[in-house]
Subunit: 567 residues, 2 copies
């Protein structure tokens, strides 16, 4: 490709508000442009990399027997309404109406549509298992689109769904997908970790996330210093250390605590530790209010709470709802003297509190010497808090945190999803049985962004050989110098004949500009035709190492073959 005939608008400066490293360099090197907030145009170089990623992912999917399909982006809103994900998605859905006032969404994934398709088209047990996948643009109206392609509103995803009549085949596909994702990320030269993730809480459900470690990542990972245990903070298990306090239970006392509302203020006022505080919050769970308790030094984990309760919708109550329910401010909520129909859900750690402090459900008052069970009843105990750094890990080690970027998620959903939607197959005896399901997402434009983040130095990109927009950047130093241009032309023909993808910088620019652009664009090999052109000698630069060679044109192909075939 002649560089003059394509669009690579490199920039010397980029707007200072751009934060992410990947985003910065993709703009500078002319790979993407923002169309509007969170929505990007892929310019020709980016499109070439995405095409290569797609092709490889297609191959890996087909190697494990997944079948490509193409469901539409416009999905009737009704398809989602009964879905397990609807409440989660809701705010992030782009909704569209047509001229007949039918409501559609722009699909953020196709789980529901795929289940509907299976329900409509496959009844007999004979037609299972089946794994369907697609590579497609998806849409999510992110609250805060950020970091360029890492969290955009229009993005490229591979999503796959498998349907089964027994656990064995589901297990097999889950393993194959795990292996396929590992292969894909390895081929891209990305270091990844596999962590446990939220699968919705059903007993037969399990999820893994594929994470690229990154300090600016959105995913917080709890890992053990002892083993390979690592989990998304959303679900990372808290190990409950049995404590049996001998402390005497003192009589409960009501204390006047004007303007004492935060845990910090309460601790200072009562001269106690955070671990002695009972933190209480009001949640609206499937439309009903409940009080949720964790220890003062702990954070409630919404995902765990939702899973423990098998709730469909869950949100914090608003201040006005709390006023109406308890007639007090947020800082004075507590588990004592609640309206009879308000349930109390507590983290396990609450059970060990002796002579603690809790809000009195009355502005300006707390109780001290509060003891669970004696002073208030608990309807349900569960693991509903975030694990903390320093907590024991399930393997006996100690929990630490780190951050990463989720690029893929695979889920064994068991029968729970299809059972809720009443989607069944017919077994050999013509009985209806629930379908088992797997779901497998891979963020392609996000992977591209991660690659852009990792494969760069201060001068530009260093694309891996197999996933570079082109293999070779061919640069005549001066296109007005006949010897330069002739040899460059000759080499362009030879290199393309030998199946190399060549970007030929035929622009009438200074060699300085051309070299700067070449480093920015980051093709693996730069071939410069310059002062020794008349001798048939070119200069070759390996972008990743900075090595420079002078090679005669006759030996060029051999050297390049060797370089591109090695790892």
């Amino acid at each position: 490709m002649k560089q003059s005939a394509t669009l690579i608008p490199t920039l010397r400066e980029i707007p200072s508000e751009i934060e992410a490293k990947s985003h910065k360099m993709l703009l500078r090197a002319g790979f993407i442009r923002q169309s509007t907030s969170g929505v990007y145009s892929y310019l020709p170089l980016a499109k070439r990399i995405l095409n290569k990623l797609e092709k490889m992912i297609h191959q890996e999917m087909e190697a494990i027997g997944a079948v490509e399909i193409g469901l539409p982006t416009l999905q009737p809103l009704s398809v989602l309404e009964h879905s397990r994900n609807y409440d989660e998605y809701r705010k992030e859905l782009f909704q569209v109406s047509n001229r007949n006032n039918q409501n559609f969404i722009l699909a953020p994934s196709h789980e529901e549509a795929m289940i509907k398709l299976i329900q409509d088209e496959i009844q007999s047990y004979k037609r299972y298992p089946i794994t369907l996948y697609q590579i497609q643009t998806k849409y999510r109206d992110e609250n805060r689109a950020r970091n360029g392609l890492l969290r955009s509103r229009e993005f490229l995803m591979k999503d796959a769904y498998s349907f089964h009549i027994n656990d064995e085949t589901l297990e097999a596909v889950y393993s194959q997908m795990t292996a396929a994702y590992s292969t894909i990320l390895s081929k891209l030269g990305l270091h990844y970790e596999i962590i446990q993730a939220d699968a919705g809480g059903a007993d037969d459900a399990e999820s893994l996330e594929f994470i690229i470690p990154a300090d600016n990542g959105d995913t917080l990972i709890a890992y053990s210093d002892e083993s390979r245990y690592a989990a998304n903070i959303e679900i990372a298990e808290v190990v409950n250390e049995p404590t049996s306090s001998k402390e005497t239970l003192n009589p409960i006392e009501k204390a006047e605590t004007p303007n004492i509302q935060t845990i910090e203020e309460v601790c200072a006022f009562f001269e106690i530790e955070e671990t002695d505080c009972i933190k209480a919050l009001v949640y609206k769970i499937d439309g009903e209010f409940a009080i949720v308790l964790v220890r003062g030094d702990h954070q409630i984990n919404g995902v765990k709470l939702k899973n423990v309760l098998q709730a469909r919708t869950l949100s914090l109550a608003s201040e006005s709802e709390i006023q109406e329910l308890l007639n007090c401010q947020i800082g004075y909520i507590g588990p004592i003297k609640l309206p009879v129909d308000v349930k109390v859900i507590a983290d396990h750690a609450i059970s060990s509190i002796r002579n603690g402090v809790a809000g009195a459900n009355e502005d300006g008052y707390h109780y001290k010497n509060v003891n669970p069970n004696r002073d208030f009843a608990i309807n349900l105990y569960g693991d509903i808090r975030n694990v903390k750094e320093g907590d024991p890990a399930p393997d006996g080690g100690t929990i630490s945190f780190k951050r990463g970027i989720e690029v893929g998620k695979i889920s064994k959903l068991g029968t729970s999803v299809c059972e809720k939607l009443n989607v069944n197959y017919m077994d050999e005896n013509a009985q209806l049985q629930p379908i088992r399901m797997g779901s497998f997402n891979l963020g392609i434009s996000r992977i591209f962004a991660v690659m852009a983040d990792i494969f760069q130095d201060e001068n530009g990109f260093l694309w891996p050989k197999q996933f570079s927009p082109y293999d070779i950047h061919l640069i005549p130093v001066n296109i007005h110098e006949e010897s330069h241009l002739n040899l460059a032309d000759e080499l362009y023909n030879i290199l393309t004949f030998y199946q190399f993808d060549v970007l030929f910088d035929d622009r009438d620019e200074s060699v300085g500009v051309k070299f700067m652009d070449a480093d920015l664009i980051g093709l693996p090999v730069r071939v410069t035709v310059g002062k020794r052109a008349s001798e048939g000698i070119v200069e070759v630069k390996i972008r990743s190492t900075g090595e420079m060679f002078e090679w005669a044109k006759e030996e060029l192909i051999d050297h390049l073959n060797e370089y591109f075939r090695s790892n």
Copy 2:
């Protein structure tokens, strides 16, 4: 691919309301399913054909130096607002708002977005010409989606845009695209015609449409019996035959014509021919009212009218607007005694009317012996009517009509589009100059539908060899018969080794069902492993001709190679 592992839900019956032949067979053979009105899911077999179409189109585009790019589907509404197409599109746009109340459209094409990109990124004359293309899902909220994939709301399109600083390179790309489209349609085995089409009316603009002749097509084509002249009725030229009537001009008379409103009623009442009637309609053109006149036997052509007037918006006035303007009903509109600021635009044929009849702009009255120029002034004459069958063609022949399906459109838009949007490049002397533009669309899902329409018989599809979902349908007659299954397995391995794409019907179904499904699906070759399996002999059926052969497994590959390599 094992048939049991993919999704091919063939049907014995389909809903009777399905009209189009292509749509019926695509449903029956399990290629597509309707998701919602005008929106379809591509099941695995359809996806495979679409992939092959895409791949071939990519190759043809790259062969002429077009560069792939990917602009987002979500486009800010503001991008379209100043576009030449906005009013045309308007009603057909899917509009979306995000949570911050920004308005987007789902792009029906990317002309405006591409112009904006060029404006933002390429200033210097040195970077021209450039041709960018994409293959992408597009959206149009059709008033009446129909005929399945032929007119759907979510569809697959190749759109390309070229930008130039001189006519020569635009002309060259226009020719290359014409040739590429011809190659593409020829490779698909489709008979096509190239007709003249609407390019917006600018002097330097020209469009061609690629049409597949079809009785149920949406495009009405006017063609000549003398030459290759053919044009979309929207723009097909009317040849004005000079007439010089010697008829005496009689004095104008006002006649009472209660309830005489249609041309038919007027002719009967006055005992005249339609050719003596002056048909008058009120249009709202860029916000101003005008009277448009054609002869009683002619139809006003909105596209021509818009082009002649270089209008941005054009619509028929409503009954209430007409009442307010002229204080009469539609049937009594005429060109005489109009409000001073209402312009009169007339088709050329009006000038030859002698002693005609026209509405009096007064309910219940017409004028007779009306003569143009004598009785009313005409602000502008133009070719603003539809050509009719029997009219003279520009080449001296006679016009006939036929119908077809537009699958592609290429346009040389000259400088007009970029001039209106004030999009320029900087020439060698740092002067701003208008950019020339080309636009090139190709409907991929529509081409697929046309193929489905043409390549079928009463039993199912007959896909062309290069664009069939698979090459070979391999069918063991009875999977419980060891000899059948063993030989089929062996052949599956051999055939796939030799790079044939094989669909292996491993289902436990009767041979009748399998054969019926095989005919429906329509792969070029069926290989049946049955009663002579133990001898190593299979039965081969060529789907397109119905020919049957018995071939020994040893000679199978040679025969198949020969078949697939021949035309």
